[in-house]
Symmetry: C2
Subunit: 341 residues, 2 copies
DNA sequence: ACCCGCTGTGAATACGTATGCCCTGCGCTG
DNA sequence: CAGCGCAGGGCATACGTATTCACAGCGGGT
């Protein structure tokens, strides 16, 4: 089957005593084929294990019935690792794709310079899903190109910083950050350090920082720039950044990490420095990756609804492919309190 | 580009003043095209952002230049979750696919009964990669069908139990289990419980159990059937199984979980029962998923080389597609000692 | 001077499906 | 009984690429 003796719609047609187009119509459910004929054809097709040839069908119909999932992460020394938060989305993305009748192509960005247009131009996929905490200023030009080419795509990111470039799905990072701030203040924390990039290169992290600042302001406090250290989203970056923070010698009683991966590194650095969590320092992350509930102590964090996010991403893209206009969507961000605060 | 004004090889041909076949030949690097002509064509193609239409190319060549990755897990109540161990392989699989010039289609099994042949028969993919800790007796029939159809595929599993069905890549589960046993004995443990299925429905788990038994036998001990409880590979299953084990009231001083997910559940159950790890009970897992180093205490486990495994799976499959014979491969399993023992 | 062979390219076609258009017959209406 | 409409299905073709075959031109050897 897979090799020499490929079954085609002509074979089915011959056996059913009809023409090839009738087979095609019957299997696609065209109403101009009588029920009797359709049933006969379906039976034969099933028996011969016939499957529509995807390449031929795509070529003729001009659609691939396939979506492409592209990960957009800053290249890390230890590559071939994907951020667990986005990996968590994979399950619901796969499931929703299957429900909608689409296949999913998956890829990294690093190896090809024109990955972003390749999938669209070569008609490998009908639309793109972009995921990742990569440097927005770096990949903005590529996203602009997608828009210019009228490629259908959705991306997970900061709705606030969408910049009119495509449809964006994201959680309410600012509200999430504010919830963290209020929670820490409630816990009598006053000196909140922030570990993570807060520039417009990383709009989601920036929004989280702004939310924290909102909450501090509400409480009559101000964010101390001396308590902000940059870090990309990796455990190692969080570890090193927290070490730099500690080395500054500016006192802090709590630490808000822009992502859980950063928080993992922060916990390690605090532990090595002999700072007990949460007694000496309360720690909060963002994302609620699976590992967050396993750390020592379990990590208070802001959960994003990755299951819903995955489904929404796919559904939005499918609607876009169908030619419908699509809107941004902001999903809720929910504080999950655990023992680290 | 993506929509109305698709660039074809005819457009390039017209601009270059040659025929369409020459364009095709030039871009595929055929030596019968003169260097001058090829360079001219390449320049024009690049300028117009031309990409070979994948569907047309596949149809003509009869190959999709695509591999399919299929997850084979027993359906869990909480689906849309993929075993983190296999997720860890995804990075290296993606990378190796890209290096070899293949795209990767990804899918779950649950939604379609004939997923296993669909990708091959419909020519969506040239070969299949099967991953998962699913019930082997359940999907064995499907694998046999793949063999019968001469579909190219590789699977990650138990080489020892390959049953002549396709090419299997796997780690040395038995040696890994033996290493665990020797390590526990060295730590003066005598009563080792095993949590996990050990039947031939789950050959990898069974091999791990056998390895443990080997080590016990070496030390003049015997595995106590009373200390074996079944569990599928999930945190919840591990939790419940460990509760059952404790309820039996048969003393044990150490616990070997057939997988890290099971071990996570075991740690939770032991914790709830007030059994301190490792003082009262030493705990060992298998797989070395990312979470293993984060548990409380960090989990001693057996690391599988998932990065290499992913690369080997892809390379083996690619060779198989090229028509070369391929062999099973057993990768090493390495004990990683952490604080749980 | 002739033929051979090589290089570079064009013409024709096949891959398998989906669809626009046309044709046939049958039942029904006036 | 003629004509009309509609259901059912065949014919031809298009999708864009890759490959086989044929062929033109040219240089060299005898």
């Amino acid at each position: 089957m897979a090799l020499s003796d490929k079954v085609t719609s002509f074979d089915i047609a011959a056996l059913a005593g009809v023409s090839q187009p009738t087979v095609s119509r019957a299997l696609r459910g065209d109403k101009t084929v009588s029920a009797a004929t359709r049933l006969r054809i379906e039976a034969i097709a099933r028996q011969l294990n016939y499957k529509v040839d995807r390449a031929a069908s795509s070529l003729r119909k001009g659609e691939a019935r396939t979506l492409a999932l592209l990960f957009f992460e800053d290249p890390l020394p230890d590559d071939s690792h994907i951020n667990p938060f986005f990996l968590s989305m994979l399950g619901s993305i796969l499931k929703t794709c299957a429900l909608r009748g689409y296949d999913l192509l998956t890829s990294f960005q690093q190896l090809s310079a024109d990955w972003h247009v390749d999938y669209a131009d070569s008609r490998k996929a009908d639309g793109l899903i972009l995921l990742g905490y990569g440097d927005w200023q770096l990949y903005r030009a590529r996203v602009e190109q997608l828009v210019g080419q009228k490629t259908r795509f959705v991306r997970y990111g900061s709705v606030a910083a969408s910049g009119g470039l495509g449809t964006v799905i994201g959680c309410d990072n600012r509200a999430g950050g504010a919830a963290v701030g209020r929670h820490l203040i409630e816990r009598k924390r006053r000196r909140v350090a922030f570990v993570g990039e807060a520039s417009d290169h990383y709009p989601e992290f920036r929004d989280r920082y702004r939310g924290l600042a909102d909450a501090l302001r509400e409480a009559g406090l101000a964010a101390d720039p001396g308590l902000h250290v940059d870090a990309l989203s990796s455990e190692q970056a969080g570890f090193e950044a927290t070490q730099r923070l500690i080395a500054r010698g500016i006192g802090f009683d709590s630490l808000f990490a822009a992502s859980d991966l950063i928080a993992l590194g922060a916990l390690r650095a605090l532990d090595e420095a002999g700072l007990v969590v949460p007694r000496a320092v309360s720690v909060v992350g963002f994302d609620d990756i699976p590992a967050a509930s396993l750390t020592r102590p379990p990590l208070t964090t802001v959960a994003q609804d990755y299951a819903r996010a995955g489904a929404v991403l796919v559904d939005t893209l499918v609607r876009q492919i169908a030619g419908e206009p699509t809107d941004h969507l902001t999903l809720p961000a929910t504080l999950v309190v655990r023992a680290s605060t």
